[in-house]
Symmetry: D2
Subunit: 436 residues, 4 copies
């Protein structure tokens, strides 16, 4: 009975959901600068009578990672205002605190169910060709430094539709629903600050969702996603002392060699017998001139592991190697955490329950496994925290045709997936929240 | 008798020499873009009835090192024209072939004497403060990417004055004089192309000259300079293959690790028992993103040695290490020679003769040794070639007060040194060329 | 009916099996020197009317890895003769070709079933204490350089007992049985030479067996073993040129630095996304004197992977790194394969069939999984070859109490496991060979 | 007049000097085990009425470097006794304190003059062939682990002869003479312990002497030796933790990789602009088995420099690199100083005075320069200390034909050099000590 109501309500918002997705797409905002997107989310949730947490209520500022400079944040906030953002929210969100949570407590006591959606665009320039539908139909990004090439515009639109569906079922539900709209998933920078804030500390069931990835057509669904790797993103800045390489090389403190030694030994960190691990020094920039002993070096690196424990092992090894490589060349080093995610474990009971919902609503024709992603997703921070507190978590995928791979400047997806995702997630939440 | 004539002629051009130096300073041009400076040099030499070699007559194009892009050369040629360069010479010098040689053959047979002057400015932005005389007096560089911070403006002005003095003594001289105006001494990039062209193949005596360095006041002179290191400047570009560092790291070909391995092992090249050697990887730039196996890396490095043999040893070791480090990671590497200089040996007989001249003209109050420079100077390529052919060479220094160190954006020097240098070099050349 | 006969026959040889195990234990022989053990195996198989393949008939000499020196082989052959080996077999096995295969072709056509047993002892010195049963009861190793600390004495005794049981059932069986007695499993050196010889090319079903490992008591059984890692064992010998480190270091070719560079970069081989990989440089010995540029270096290393493909990937990377590290220092390098094993995949159908047999004979009270061994076993070479030819393979484990871990000088096991293994393997073979 | 007396006295001991040299040669004793040699030295000095310092009076035990084990010392002391050493001295010298100083204070006050001789043999096995004179004539080493292959047997014999000559001139001399007989020059291990003891703290003039090296025939002499390098000899022992390389590599603490990282980075220590430096990791021994993460590693290395300051620079860099390389792999490291020497500066005034003596006695037909040795000599510790206290020092060489290079197992020299050295050094000492 609830299922039928959900479908009906989802159908009612289907057109609006497409419009919202296109609006978010057109005014794409990248990590920590989602001022306009988050404002619209907050306004919509408010109008649906959700309690809204934003700014310092949703984000622990000290746990924000990889935040742009104040100058850039300011520039983007101004752009958001010019593009219609509500000044009230932009003010609350200043400093990049663009996370939003909508909370609705139903009359009857019951479990707390959270759904998590990410809002940020990629640092990419969208293609300007008629073959690209968003361009052809006039909703390509007007912001030249940002493009939704990972479908988060769709995720956000789905989240608002789910908010509307669940609000419409208010009288039939028990417990509490929390709709989490997260900034800065790209670079796995944003979840930690909301998790540390305590947003999911009281959550019994948490669901995350993504379009596409390994599910290539509308009609496919995965009720769990295995294989997200726990990860930590690090910047290491080495500072030595310059010297003329011909006249007095012994006076230099060579930051380039410190960083090179660190790089080699980082990649030599031992494998872990309990599962897969990864290490990558992706960027090195060192030195100023050919004839000067290099006094500066920057490494951008990441560690990964199939579990948080393995990632922590690699991280600990990496930190020691970076510190000692600097000490070896008598140079200083400062390491900054730029992003992170946990390992992903789906709870079998919740996966099974969600699967039954998906079968029941009869909108999917194929249940596929999703795994061996090899990438990372910081929704895992929420999942891990929920599990640490005795709750259950799962991460689902909803299939859709793609015009190009994720992060490609020609990325677009089949918008029929939007309705399916809204119906699926709303049904799953309603099932968990249904009055007994 | 000749000495007195020289002094008189030098005094006659003293004012013009200061003016020329300031003109060159104002329209500073960096390596291989000295189109205006070289045009003026060529015009002046022509007007003094020197035979002028320029463009392909002065430069072996294949031996030019560290040349800017064609686009940049074109831009600078156009600027030179706008700043008054003679289109005839700019056309001859296209492609950056800005070397000029003035040749005067005297009636009576005799030795061939060459004097070498460098013309290029530094890649620096001149300070704009009243405390800086060139700015205060209106001859600071109007070209924002170039500044004479090493005194080559003075060297060029001295060269033209010497040309005028020697032309004035024409009837009293025997043999041939060659006045070599070299581009691109900064980065030791220009001399090789003129040496390979054969400019000094017939030279019996060659003198090079620099202002300042270790001689800190007007009145000091050094009749030889020891300790220039032979050197080779190299760029190594590694090209591998990218891969997602989480999902398929084994598909990457890691250019960063190849470059890091090269860097460490380059610095581990064994010392040489025959003298000092140097190796410096001054710059490393590698990779594009934290989560991508780095597919590109650039190393900027240099080798040095107290002799050409030692430098050649380090260079040979370095080339093998770079090639094998690339092979180790299955990446490609391309190494480009960006500059070079030979070791410097002064011929004692010539040094002694020049010293007698310096004492005779009585313009210097202190004879100082110059050595342990620790840097490099590509005049050494000319010197080495002259010596290989049985001639003699020496490199002299003329003292002057400096307002800041060489290559500093506040660099300026005491222009009284100009006259002393003109008188000294003209006297030395006249002594070597004097009719017996 | 067959099962009952098997049990009866197995009981008949139980005492003899214990005696044989103790005899092999007392005259322990390590890899490639199992002259006496293999002679007894050959004699026993002959007496049971098996066709016996030995020496060049069982071993491809070119594929033998990690073979002792000719001098050592000779010494051990002489010892074997002194300890009662049959000179005929010792002669056939000279050069260490100590593999033996017993073949029995039954009257009726049918499948070819192979069982594989290993015969070699460890390079260990057995403890001489009364608390150690083999010493107390007089069957501790009398050969001071060899000790059965991995139970291969038991494996060989079981193999001979199985031979006797199956010979006793001759009339009830169809097809062919091959009993493979392999030398040099320690260091995974021996299987390859028998596999390359083609011993298992016609095999339809192959079973390998080990006592203990993760099965800690009599009564436990595992019908498959997961997690053996494919592996390659390599020795790399670098040869450079010495030089006085003070007087002429530039004349040296530094083998130590070549080996150090290889070691670091070997450990930096990228992880593989398809499964676990391993690399270990376990030993490095380089140089002769503190003041001499080191002209020699030895690395002992191993690669591993969960599959042969992954191991091959690590091996290929390792070979390139070793070669280029040598080239980097202009030293020569020779790499020798010292051992190897494939990844282990058990065929589900065979595992299930064997499991039914194990349940039927009712000698085991616990079926346990065996996996995540982390080590290697070269029986996998036989298994992989059988599977490549369309056959099926499995590796079983038979539980037993141990007095100390495998390879410990106090190792001993509960001999009640011998009977259970004989009954189990004989039943399994009889089941596969039973007349239809 | 003194010169003539010296020559006469030197002639008187010539035969005895040859005999002593042959006796020391036959009973060769290597570093810190010169119990017999030193006993004979002490007895001889005593009999000549020198005050004798030995054992703790001559050696600072804490500053002894590279000392054999107590067991080895005991074994060699017993051998010395069996070969005729005086038990009194052997007892005083126990623990390897085999340095001896003979002091004679003349009646009239005057300067303190020291001559230094080294006594130790090499760790070499002398050739047993008739073509080798020591073997043919019966004075080849009877001690199988030691051979005088560097001429220290001659040095010691010369020292005793000089003692006798100067004692014979007692009445004509003023001041004090100190004859220093040093153990353990090989490996530059012994001088420091005597220098630290203060043996040369009161010395005004010090002379060291060596046969041969770059002086290839009797008749040549060098009155100073340039180019000994300051040096430090180090052993670094790394201790990590083993782990099975397949099953649990992450549990290992890899001492081999720590040592490999140290080795590479040690060789990458920057050159010093003030003069030549050297670094050599001559030996690396690490690990126990191919499949075990290596838990141990030993590096034997040395640093050098043309001056003590440069050597100290390399040493300081090296110590930091070793410590941080260990820390990088979380392993422990212990570094032991195994030897050392200072840079060598000869005082021009003393060199000139010694040269005049050498010319005056008319025993040499060629004065040659000695330099660019590239090796090290710990007599430099004495020289440096004397100079630090305001005294003067020089190191002379006396030419001789050699049958093979120093440290060769066929080494022998022309014994005519013995007399020339005795006469030269005695004359020089007498000149410095002559009553005014």
């Amino acid at each position: 009975m609830l299922d039928a109501s959900v479908i009906k309500l989802a159908q009612a918002v289907e057109k609006k959901t497409v419009e919202r997705r296109r609006d978010f797409h057109k005014f794409a905002e990248s990590a920590w600068t989602e001022f306009r997107t988050a404002s619209i989310v907050a306004d919509t949730l408010s109008s649906l009578e959700y309690e809204v947490l934003a700014g310092d209520q949703a984000i622990d500022a000290a746990a924000m990672m990889g935040v742009p400079s104040l100058q850039e944040l300011k520039k983007h906030a101004e752009r958001a205002l010019a593009q219609g953002a509500n000044p009230k929210w932009v003010n609350i969100m200043q400093g990049g605190k663009t996370g939003v949570v909508g909370v609705m407590r139903f009359a009857k006591p019951g479990p707390t169910v959270a759904l998590r959606f990410d809002m940020d665009a990629n640092d990419a320039v969208e293609v300007q060709e008629d073959s690209h539908r968003p361009y052809r139909e006039g909703f390509a990004s007007v912001n030249k430094d940002a493009m939704h090439a990972c479908g988060h515009d769709g995720h956000t639109a789905v989240g608002l539709a789910v908010a509307e569906v669940l609000a419409g079922l208010k009288d039939q539900l028990a417990g509490t629903v929390k709709l989490i709209f997260q900034p800065a998933e790209e670079g796995v920078r944003g979840a930690k600050a909301m998790m540390v804030k305590g947003i999911v500390d009281d959550v019994d069931y948490l669901l995350g969702m993504h379009f596409g990835v390994t599910l290539k057509r509308v009609g496919q669904v995965a009720c769990q996603t295995e294989g997200f790797l726990a990860t930590t993103k690090l910047d290491a800045v080495f500072t030595g002392a310059p010297a003329h390489a011909g006249a007095a090389p012994e006076n230099g403190k060579n930051a380039l060699l410190a960083a090179a030694t660190a790089s080699l030994n980082l990649h030599a960190i031992s494998r872990h017998s309990a599962g897969a691990s990864r290490i990558n020094v992706g960027v090195m920039q060192a030195g100023t001139g050919r004839n000067v002993v290099p006094a500066n070096a920057l490494l951008k690196l990441e560690t990964r592991g199939t579990t948080s424990v393995i990632n922590e092992y690699v991280y600990t090894e990496a930190m020691r190697i970076i510190q000692t490589a600097a000490a070896m060349y008598d140079v200083k080093v400062a390491v900054t955490e730029m992003g992170g995610a946990a390992g992903c474990g789906n709870d079998a009971a919740l996966v099974e329950r969600v699967r039954q919902v998906a079968e029941r609503i009869n909108l999917f024709d194929e249940f596929v496994p999703a795994g061996n992603i090899g990438g990372s997703e910081d929704c895992t921070y929420f999942m891990e925290r929920v599990q640490q507190h005795g709750g259950q978590a799962a991460y689902v995928m909803v299939g859709t045709e793609l015009t190009a791979g994720h992060h490609d400047f020609k990325f677009d997806f089949n918008e029929q997936a939007l309705f399916k995702a809204v119906a699926f997630l709303s049904s799953a939440a309603a099932d968990l929240l249904a009055k007994k």
